[in-house]
């Protein structure tokens, strides 16, 4: 099926893009002012350990050999040791990545689904109170400053009402207790997830709503909608089964285009909520001058964006038969 060829092509493109970014990062780190070695080797290390690490990472070799080491190390998962944590970077990001994926994917999926659903309804009630209300709501929420929105939500729902925890992903007492069940732990994470997820959701669903709304209004003017009416279908069927599937396509495209933007928001949210994900780790590592960790988290985040792009493209190809056939 052509779908596989399409996926293959996109995958190849993504691999190339990633390599370009990998290379650029390599160059930037090596060529920036200052001694590159201090960026990879913890100044607190003993000279022997330092020498070992230098040899392992190939830092004493000429630039092009360093590059080969660099790429090899990347695929081997060897990113050096974090200055701050003193552990291999790989161990740290291994634990952080799932948390980010949890928050990121649920927020995008939730805001896209709700945005599409509400946008459809808004377009149907165009000009009336429902529509005006939703449009204004969407307009206001997606122009709010994200970290500020996060702080507001924490202030109201965590601090004042006490419904949710202020920071973090887990409650230590539940997770450290050996007798805790899986569902207790899962519920605990869910409890902590509500506010960060809510923040991202509020921030993103507005733009999807607005796009779906205008897309529906455009789609309803199309000729095949006239055909559907002529066939004697009810308005509800026309709206949901003929117009909406077509109108939703631009929303999918938008989700794809704004993934990099979304991950900015994700990193900010993680930081404010102290959610232990790679976004927060990046911010933290930069403030600590923990170069190995910063570099690795940045690359990983880029990878997440690229993979999400691929997923969205495949989804689009699945939804729009004109791409596949």
């Amino acid at each position: 099926m052509d779908l596989w060829r399409y996926i293959g092509r996109r995958l190849a493109q993504i691999v190339i893009i990633f390599f370009v970014i990998l290379t650029v990062l390599f160059l930037v780190f090596r060529l920036a002012p200052g001694d590159p070695i201090t960026r990879m080797v913890d100044p607190d290390m003993t000279p022997e350990d330092a020498a070992l690490l230098i040899a392992q990472l190939g830092l004493d070799q000429p630039l092009h050999i360093q590059y080969i080491y660099y790429v090899k190390n990347f695929f081997a998962g060897q990113f050096g040791d974090s200055f701050h944590y003193g552990q291999p970077v790989l161990d740290i990001i291994k634990h952080r990545l799932p948390n980010t994926i949890l928050l990121f994917t649920t927020s995008i999926i939730l805001s896209a689904l709700v945005g599409v659903f509400l946008g459809k309804i808004a377009s149907w009630h165009k000009g009336k109170k429902t529509d005006t209300g939703m449009t204004i709501g969407a307009l206001v929420t997606h122009t709010l400053f994200l970290p500020w929105l996060a702080l507001l939500l924490i202030w109201i729902f965590a601090y004042k009402m006490g419904w949710f925890p202020i920071t973090g992903m887990v409650s230590e007492d539940i997770w450290l207790d050996p007798t805790s069940q899986f569902w207790q732990k899962a519920l605990d994470v869910g409890h902590h997830l509500v506010l960060p997820l809510g923040t991202l959701f509020l921030f993103h669903f507005g733009s999807y709503l607005l796009i779906m709304r205008s897309s529906m209004l455009e789609t309803l003017k199309e000729d095949y909608i006239l055909t559907a009416r002529a066939k004697g279908l009810t308005e509800k069927v026309i709206r949901n089964r003929h117009a909406a599937p077509n109108a939703a396509l631009p929303v999918v495209t938008t989700v794809g285009l704004s993934l990099a933007f979304s991950i900015n928001g994700g990193a900010l949210t993680e930081t404010v909520f102290t959610w232990p994900g790679i976004g927060r780790e990046l911010v933290f590592s930069v403030s600590q001058n923990d170069y190995p960790l910063a570099q690795a988290t940045f690359l990983l985040i880029t990878l997440v964006v690229l993979v999400s792009n691929l997923v969205v493209d495949v989804l689009y190809a699945y939804l729009d038969p004109r791409i596949r056939y």
């Binding site: 893009i17 970290p147 500020w148 933007f261 940045f298 985040i301 880029t302 964006v305």
Partner: protein, 302 residues
């Protein structure tokens, strides 16, 4: 024939502008947006006043001799003071100035780059086009905020202008795509053929024939770019990577947050956040109204 075109285009512009303005005026969103922006512009202008009234009102260095902690609104300090006893209102006004500065310059630069690259890419086609568009793709994939963070890690504290430059360098791809599409469709039009036959060089064609037709679109995108530039700078300042010598709204939020006052001082927490959000909203409304002016299909039917 080809030479006469630019003159006619200039006069055409004035007439278009007037027509555009009358359509714009009808749009509620546009009016609200413009009003808000005027308010913010006034804020920015007035930001020079407070230190002149009394040195204690200086946003960065002005400290109230009597107050040295965060206090609520009072007659002396209409929005209260921050943790060091500095006046919040004057900080807010200074922040407006910074927002416009950052927003407009970053937007202008990225639009300039994006339009130039889009035009060249669309016009030249083939290798140049492919190369530039691939470059755009790579840049678009990288989250601007995080890239700036990495650069901050490498180059140390970034000055406000460095931040503006980085934002501009990473925000042009979106514009260039649209401009490129427009250029491609313009390329097919007969008047370009006529110009070529008349012997106009490529550079001339781009600047005198394509550019005027593409600029309205650029301006439209500029409004969106301003908002993203302001929010990125604010986010950077919020995280602590802004320019420590400038007082921006993001910086104010960082201070509230980092000094633990966010739950105790709503008079400090709310104003900067509201300002950032409102300026984003007003530019967005401006953009939507301009969109209606530029795209006749969007105008309300009878």
């Amino acid at each position: 024939m080809a030479e006469a075109k630019p003159q006619r285009i200039k006069i055409h512009w004035i007439a278009q502008f007037q027509e555009g303005w009358s359509i714009y005026k009808q749009n509620i969103l546009g009016k609200i947006g413009l009003t808000l922006l005027v308010i913010f512009a006034l804020m920015a202008l007035f930001s020079f006043l407070p230190p002149l009234i009394d040195p204690m009102y200086h946003p960065m260095t002005g400290v109230d001799p009597v107050i040295s902690s965060s206090t609520g609104p009072s007659l002396k300090h209409w929005l209260g003071t921050d943790f060091m006893g500095r006046d919040i209102l004057s900080q807010l006004l200074a922040g407006a100035r910074v927002a416009f500065m950052v927003g407009v310059s970053a937007a202008f630069m990225s639009i300039f780059l994006g339009t130039a690259i889009g035009m060249i890419s669309g016009y030249m086609g083939k290798f140049v086009d492919t190369f530039l568009m691939r470059l755009a793709e790579v840049i678009m994939v990288m989250p601007t905020l995080l890239v700036t963070l990495i650069l901050a890690a490498l180059f140390g504290q970034l000055s406000i202008w460095a931040i503006v430059l980085v934002i501009a360098l990473f925000r042009w791809p979106g514009v260039s795509r649209v401009i490129r599409a427009q250029t491609l469709s313009l390329k097919q039009r007969p008047f370009i053929e006529a110009a070529k036959v008349a012997g106009a060089s490529h550079v001339r064609i781009i600047f005198r024939h394509i550019m005027p037709n593409v600029l309205p679109l650029s301006f439209l995108y500029m409004t969106f770019r301003v908002t993203s530039a302001i929010t990125i700078e604010a986010a950077l300042a919020f995280l602590g990577f802004g320019d420590p010598s400038t007082v921006s709204w993001g910086m104010m939020l960082q201070w509230v947050w980092k000094t633990g006052h966010m739950f105790k001082a709503p008079y400090w927490l709310l104003p900067p956040g509201i300002c950032i959000s409102l300026i984003t909203l007003s530019f967005y409304m401006l953009g939507r109204a301009m969109d209606e002016v530029l795209d006749p299909r969007l105008r309300r039917e009878g």
